[in-house]
């Protein structure tokens, strides 16, 4: 059992959990993830490790409420326990001094980007960050990312913060103004990683993306996480989660992410219905 030691709402629909997992904390390298099972009847979901503290024996997970499991996780209070947290899984990011690195993050993808940006900076790179979201509140970890970046840029769809538009607009301008960076690391929704990769492909800027496919075991045993990278089948959980963005078949990934859409919606509706009932019950007892 893995205790929840701290929990904080960092934006609407975003939670930051600090979970006791000493062995994982000790071994974690940026880019790696854990498989989480909430309880006996739960499903196994991958969550990228946003931070680890080997001394305290904790890992930090940032969770966006998108489906039944992530919403349910949001109801877990401090002091409760997760049934299983397995990892650290996946191949760590290859951190080296390449010169200039642009870190592009969107949505929940900003969380796993943070330790990569921090290590890239520590390795002696110049780090520019571009973070985007629908609206200001949904651009998470702004201060934390700023602290590990030489310069940081923000974009929002509604213009409530930073520049109005998409991260790719900011990236294109950055490249135009400062020249080609040596590496782009993009983590966020599949569509965001696709457009970033399309942009950098033109200038042949090496681009790393971290894929978020559906997983069950996370150890290479089921193949449900498979993606097409440069015409080859790769398992995201063991061969990734990071790949060369220019080689990933994003269209296929996006389709495969929709494999269980009706079931996910059903589970979500049921959860919301039950949860609202419980909330109402709670209110009437109070």
């Amino acid at each position: 059992m893995f205790p929840i030691i701290a929990k904080e709402a960092i934006a609407p629909g975003f939670w930051r959990f600090v979970v006791g997992a000493p062995e994982i904390a000790r071994k974690h390298r940026p880019g790696q993830f854990v498989m989480v099972l909430l309880h006996e009847r739960g499903e196994r979901i991958p969550l990228t490790i946003a931070h680890s503290d080997p001394v305290a024996g904790t890992i930090t997970l940032v969770v966006q409420e998108v489906g039944k499991t992530t919403m349910e996780m949001g109801t877990f209070p401090v002091g409760s326990e997760l049934q299983a947290v397995v990892g650290p899984l996946g191949t760590p990011t290859h951190i080296e001094r390449v010169g200039t690195v642009v870190c592009v993050g969107g949505g929940a993808g900003i969380a796993p980007l943070l330790p990569i940006a921090a290590d890239m900076k520590a390795a002696g790179n110049r780090v520019y960050s571009i973070l985007g979201g629908r609206t200001k509140e949904l651009v998470i970890l702004r201060e934390e990312m700023a602290a590990v970046s030489d310069e940081i840029f923000f974009t929002t769809d509604d213009g409530s913060f930073g520049r109005k538009g998409l991260v790719t607009h900011a990236l294109a301008d950055l490249i135009a103004e400062r020249g080609k960076p040596d590496l782009v690391v993009a983590i966020g929704p599949a569509i965001m990683m696709k457009v970033v990769s399309d942009l950098t492909r033109k200038d042949a800027i090496p681009t790393l993306v971290s894929l978020n496919s559906i997983m069950i075991d996370g150890t290479g045993m089921c193949g449900c996480c498979r993606v097409d990278v440069g015409g080859q089948t790769k398992f995201v959980c063991v061969d990734g989660p990071e790949f060369d963005g220019h080689k990933v078949d994003f269209d296929l990934l996006i389709k495969r992410l929709r494999a269980f859409l009706p079931q996910e919606q059903e589970a979500r509706q049921r959860f919301l219905a039950q949860h609202r009932c419980r909330a109402l019950e709670g209110a009437s007892h109070a």
Binding site: K27, A84, V86, G87, D217, C222, L252, R258, E266, A267
Partner: protein
């Protein structure tokens, strides 16, 4: 367990041969395809004793030679005939730790029952059903005698993987007084027994029961621990303080077909399908959170045990048409005979001598159909089986919503790759000394599917036992300073 069951008399040999083999009560096909409860209901005490009465009690019992762990079959069968059920289980457990499991999943028709002297002219003694009967009786009575464990030796052994190889090795080591920890990557214990083989063939409660017994013997079980990731083998030795390590990591890597269209949604490996259904209980979605989607028509490629399990799970999940695609004939199907027969009773459409050529999908990326090639048997190949060859122009298309690929598994390299110096063969299997099961790294042992490639439960158990002896000897040498724990260059 009833102490005083009145046994049956010994019959003259001639008469024993006249008694036909007793069928085992089962759920009816129409009924069972609508539930996940166990298909076979097991012998009653009367049926078991009557079946046991058939055994000729051979002087030189061939059945024993056919058993990979050499159970004293005539002895336990005769004890059943006499109504001495408790003694019968004890007899089996001298060499087989998991009889309730083996009685259900061993391919008896290729082992003990194949060579039983009655097989030639009559039908073999139902050895597997008898084994299962006494093991169940003992478990249900809750009277399992805990094996006696030797005084603690102070040695710690890490067992990686909780399949039959790991469970057996752990049990034998615990009995020898060693302190054992099982490290299992998944969140449940049992390996293929829990994630692969479905509830209707092997109820999970039976596996859980065996695992509980192990715990009572002092074996520690750490689930959700991926060796090679959470800790390496080197760390198990030098930071966790283990004196020996056993690899029982199985053959969990799925093979795909390598034909066009395999990326469509709805093409899944048998491992993915069975894990969703058995381990994550997708058949009870949305009570359990993991979904599975099949559609109306499901094709399963392959005809081994894994394929049978997929076909039968798909049927139970409500697929209207379930089709088995296999490029050889029924005679070559490597599945356990009883399961193949049951699958045939369960309205599965078997297409023998058929090979998939291509999978079709729609705009949204979902599977819609499949192109099949008819085959015929040609010249025998290296394995002596007649090689299937395509019949030109015989291709045809079928409509399907799901394609499950059950054409084999190979070892998962996650742990072996993280263990430098470990010698592997070209299939990724660990190379071991057959006597001791020790690998190229002193103190690191292996057994089961990780050594043989995908095989059987009983062979994995046998390997686990042999390895336990090898590990015990090695620990003795370690104590006497004749060997030392392995080191890795920094």
């Amino acid at each position: 367990m009833p102490e005083e069951t009145v046994g049956l008399p010994e019959l003259p040999k001639k008469e024993r041969m006249k008694i036909p083999r007793h069928p085992m009560p089962e759920q009816k096909p129409e009924e069972r395809v609508r539930n996940f409860s166990e298909v076979a209901l097991g012998y009653t005490a009367e049926l078991a004793m009557m079946e046991a009465q058939r055994c000729l009690q051979c002087e030189k019992p061939l059945c024993v030679q056919g058993c990979p762990v050499e159970i004293d079959i005539p002895a336990f069968v005769d004890l059943i005939r006499q109504g001495k059920f408790k003694e019968a289980v004890a007899k089996i457990k001298e060499t087989n730790t998991l009889p309730a499991i083996c009685g259900r999943v061993c391919p008896q028709e290729d082992q003990c029952e194949m060579v039983c002297v009655l097989t030639k002219k009559y039908t073999p003694v139902a050895i597997g059903r008898l084994e299962r009967f006494v093991a169940d009786l003992e478990r249900e009575a809750g009277e399992i005698e805990m094996p006696h464990c030797a005084p603690p030796t102070g040695h710690k052994v890490a067992v990686i993987g909780s399949g039959p190889a790991g469970l057996t090795c752990a049990a034998d080591l615990a009995r020898l007084g060693h302190q054992v920890t099982i490290f299992e990557a998944l969140h449940k214990t049992g390996g293929v027994l829990v994630y692969g083989i479905p509830e209707f063939r092997l109820p999970k409660a039976i596996v859980d029961y065996e695992v509980e017994n192990l715990k009572r013997m002092g074996v520690e079980i750490r689930t959700g621990f991926v060796v090679g990731k959470t800790a390496t083998v080197e760390e198990l030795f030098w930071e966790y303080g283990y004196d020996a390590v056993f690899f029982g990591t199985g053959a969990g890597l799925p093979a795909f077909l390598g034909i066009p269209g395999e990326q469509f949604i709805g093409v899944l490996s048998a491992n993915e399908f069975l894990t969703r259904v058995n381990l994550m209980r997708a058949y009870d979605f949305p009570n359990y959170d993991t979904p599975v989607r099949l559609g109306r028509r499901v094709a399963v490629v392959g005809a081994g045990n894994v394929a049978m399990d997929c076909l039968r799970c798909a049927k139970r999940l409500g697929a209207q048409e379930v089709i088995c695609i296999y490029r050889r004939t029924r005679a070559e199907s490597p599945a356990r005979k009883e399961e193949l027969e049951r699958a045939e009773e369960e309205f599965i459409d078997f297409r023998w001598l058929s090979a998939p050529l291509e999978i079709y999908g729609n705009e949204e990326g979902f599977v819609t159909g499949m192109r099949i090639q008819r085959m015929e048997l040609g010249e025998p190949d290296a394995s002596g089986r007649r090689r299937p060859v395509p019949i030109p122009g015989s291709e045809y298309d079928i409509e399907v919503d799901t394609v499950i690929v059950a054409i084999g598994q190979s070892p998962n390299p996650l742990a072996t790759r993280a263990t430098p110096g470990l010698e592997l063969n070209r299939h990724g299997c660990i190379v071991v000394d057959q006597q001791t099961m020790m690998s190229s790294i002193p103190g690191v042992f292996a057994g089961g599917d990780i050594v043989t490639g995908a095989a059987t439960v009983i062979l994995a158990m046998g390997a686990g036992k042999t390895a336990a002896r090898g590990i015990h000897e090695w620990l003795g040498k370690l104590e006497r300073g004749e060997v030392s724990k392995p080191t890795w260059p920094r």
